[in-house]
């Protein structure tokens, strides 16, 4: 909880920076603040407090803290990556504040215990993202991205709100535990519109995690937004949306899983197929990564769909989010450096293995991790999903997952092949600024370390 307050405070502070002229100090302050938030988080974890706040609106239990930890860590790396991005912008502080407020929403999403907090969290996170997506004011595509994101996002929010209203109508409460109790007590005589509400919420959440067939906004928005904002969307926003998804469906609606698992299975299957085959056909790296993020959403949803309320499935989602987030940070960080000249196609990576061997290796490891090859983190992530789903009767999805994973390897390899096989016309070395290099090294090492010792992350939930 203190972490959430600190980040909110930082957001307000960032807005004051212009007036009180400490713009230069802002980045160090924000980084320190995130570290402090992380530390407080850790403290609450170690003491296993799990307190409820604000009349039971929000509760930072261990699950929430684990997800906030991932979000804060990713945000920390992201801010370092973004340091020179902010220097170029004239209205630096607005961007800082927007990102920080999005972060506040993300943290709320990990810890909500009330439907209103869920809705608030989603809105607080999304609205700054709409603005940030359109933040390249003179770029047509960036404007388009922001606009599209806003329309689609609002549409999903409306669904969510309608779903909440219907559920409230049936159960008479916004509190997720009370709703759970209601389901337990009225398992046979719930009104039809309650189920409609559940399905509407499911649709809205699928929008937010960009799972097929609700994914159409993602490629355009990812492509149009500034690269670093895309990085933020595919890591922080995604992790938060998944934390919320899991909290909502495994805790609140866990007892009526037969209503939604079937739909979710179809969503997973579509996400895996559409995303992987579409990604294989992309030339733009950002679009490809957008589709790749849809396919990873499919994988994570598989665990939720398995509806196994065990430590194993919790670990699976948390590990997956972490592996995916750090892999994405590495690849977007490198993508940012490589595409500075404006070419965002795969050809921008041509000959990177020679132009900057170090970045080539880091990118290779990130790609192998996203493709799920041992000894990277992505492999264990995939493995956890396989073991969780193996115990359910959705084993056919595993076969589909295997086939689409092989397709997935295709487009990740395309980048590797471009780096080591294709020749660059002009042999310009790609430079990376010191701090960014630090992030890329750190996330690459982390990818290998948690890939070699998954026990560090995977054994968090020992009850």
């Amino acid at each position: 909880m203190k972490g959430l307050l600190i980040i909110s405070g930082l957001g307000i502070l960032a807005m004051l920076a212009e007036i009180f002229k400490f713009k230069k100090l802002l980045l160090p302050i924000v980084l320190l603040g995130i570290v402090a938030a992380y530390a407080f988080n850790y403290f609450e974890w170690a003491n296993n407090l799990g307190l409820h706040y604000f009349d039971n609106m929000i509760s930072f239990d261990n699950k929430a803290i684990a997800f906030s930890g991932i979000i804060l860590a990713t945000a920390f790396f992201w801010f370092i990556l973004a340091n020179d991005y902010f220097e170029e912008e004239t209205n630096l502080v607005d961007h800082f504040a927007l990102v920080l407020f999005a972060l506040v929403g993300a943290l709320m999403l990990t810890a909500f215990t009330n439907m209103t907090t869920l809705f608030l969290g989603i809105e607080i996170m999304s609205i700054p993202m709409y603005v940030l997506a359109a933040s390249k004011k003179n770029d047509m595509r960036s404007n388009e991205a922001g606009f599209k994101y806003l329309i689609m996002g609002s549409f999903a929010s409306a669904f969510l709100l309608f779903g909440i209203a219907l559920i409230y109508g049936a159960s008479g409460s916004f509190d997720i535990l009370k709703i759970r109790e209601y389901i337990g007590a009225h398992s046979t005589d719930m009104p039809m519109f309650f189920y409609v509400g559940v399905v509407m919420m499911l649709v809205a959440m699928c929008f937010k995690v960009s799972a097929a067939p609700f994914h159409f906004w993602a490629p355009d928005v990812y492509e149009g937004s500034p690269t670093l904002i895309t990085a933020l969307m595919s890591t922080v926003v995604k992790t938060a949306a998944f934390a919320a998804f899991m909290r909502l469906f495994l805790i609140t609606f866990g007892e009526i899983s037969e209503v939604w698992t079937g739909i979710l299975a179809a969503v997973v299957a579509l996400s895996l197929i559409i995303a992987n085959f579409s990604a294989a056909m992309q030339n733009s790296v950002k679009r490809m990564l957008a589709y790749s993020s849809i396919s990873h959403a499919g994988f994570m949803l598989m665990v939720i769909m398995a509806n196994v309320r065990s430590n194993m499935s919790l670990d699976a989602i948390i590990y997956y989010s972490l592996a995916y987030s750090i892999g994405s940070i590495t690849s977007f960080g490198i993508l940012y450096s490589v595409t500075k000249k404006g070419n965002e196609n795969i050809s921008a990576f041509n000959g990177l293995g020679k132009r900057n061997p170090f970045l080539g290796i880091c990118m290779t490891i990130a790609m192998l991790s996203l493709a799920g090859i041992p000894i990277t983190a992505g492999f264990f992530a995939k493995y956890f999903v396989f073991t969780t789903v193996m115990g359910t009767h959705y084993q056919w999805l595993l076969i589909l997952a295997v086939i689409t994973s092989a397709v997935g390897a295709y487009y990740y390899l395309k980048i590797i092949i471009a780096m080591y096989f294709k020749e660059q016309e002009e042999e310009t070395p790609v430079d990376m600024e010191g701090l960014n290099k630090f992030v890329v090294i750190l996330t690459t090492v982390l990818t290998i370390v948690i890939g070699l010792a998954p026990g560090m992350v995977a054994e968090m939930f020992k009850f």
Binding site: D315, G353, L368, A371, I373, P374, I375, F379, Y383, F386, T387, M390, G391, L398, I399, V402, I403, S405, A406, A409, Y410, L413, I416, I417, Y420, F421, K422, A453, P454, G455, A458, E459, K462
Partner: protein, 486 residues
Amino acid sequence: MLTVLLVGFPLLAALLVFFTRGTAARSLAMAASVIEFVISLIALYIFKHNPDSPLLSFNCVWVQSLGIHFSIALDGLSILMVLLTTFLVPLIILSSYSNNYSNSHNFYGLILIMQMALVGVFVAQDGFLFYVFWELALIPVYFICLMWGGENRGAITFKFFVYTLFGSLFMLVGFVYLYNHTNVDGLKSWAIQDLYNAGKSLNANQQGILFWLIFIAFAIKMPIFPFHTWQPDTYVNAPTQGTMLLSGIMLKMGTFGVIKWLLPIVPLGLEKWGGTAIGLSVIGIVYASCIAIVQKDFKRLIAYSSIAHVGLISAGILSANQQGIQGAIMQMLAHGVNVVGLFFIADILLQHTGTREIEKLGGIRSMNGNFAVLFLIVLLGAVALPLTNGFVGEFLLINGVFQYSGIIAAFAGLTIILGAVYMLRSYQTIMLGERKDSNITFGPLAGTEKAVLIIICVVVILFGVYPKPLNDIAEEATRTILMVMK
């Protein structure tokens, strides 16, 4: 502990090599691989005297909550495979002395990492660890082929990678399925023995599905017909050393996997589907032999001959009797050595004459008699003439398949006849007769080239005349496997 050294040493050496530059990298890699060979000889010595020596096994927890252990040990089958690996890698490195690769430190570093993964595959006693090494072995060889391969390497290596990854993922699903059925005092386990027990507790249908899930990964790696389409292009386009690694050692991962990680797990599945799989293997033998006969490129010819040989090995293993499996083990060793020799000869031909096309060459014997003799010895090993190393394995294999079914053995036996046809004919065209093109010259062999070929020839004859030491270990290992299957 010795086994840990076997796995860890190449990795350490590789890290060193990555930071060395120029020819020092090559010498360092060479020295490391020779030391590794010595270590494996020591392991063999210990194994001969005390197979249960604690020096040969190592076990520590990797991921507690998932029952994953870093558990490695040397048994009869493993030690033979490890010896094959550690014997071939120095030869492969030595064979590269006449090539000049750019960024050679990366090249040699990757070869050593590859060696680490291969040894790991052969010694793993934990299903998960096996899978990790299995996948790990793919990455260095992929980069070797991608960075130093031939003309169309991008598309070809890509096909190779995706194809094998595809198979491996099915194997992972199979293993996870198996793992979910293990039960050791209420906990799940990845230990090989527990996986064996879990596999046997399943009914015939489940075992049948499991058989295909796992077998497909091995079949792609070997490769068995109809999963072989990646192989000829990859072998031809890879740099010679990459081809040697792929055909000499990596192919054996597949056959090794079938012996150790498939047969004892799904004995009922084998009963149900073994016939089909043997059928595919035998189709592969005939099919690949026929295609080999009409090949123009010598390297491609060897690639197809390799499919034929591995088909016979696979048929022998799947017939699941003493002779079949023992023969397969012997043939894996022999084929590993011979095919490395043959690919090296193909490379020498290309280096000296500028072409590998059989029709363009001719009369090389008159230009370099020594080379002709060495080539002939390797070739005879490959066609399994008695008193060469190929003979023992091939004889046992045909014997084993015959016990399974006489008709299938008759077809499998075609490999010997057809093998002799394409091998001897290509030798005849390349080495004998008149020079076809006066531009093509063939000077004396370089020192390293000679050394590699002589070592291979010595092994071909030595283990052809006196196969007993290896055969004893193979026999014992087969007996253990068959015991576990019952």
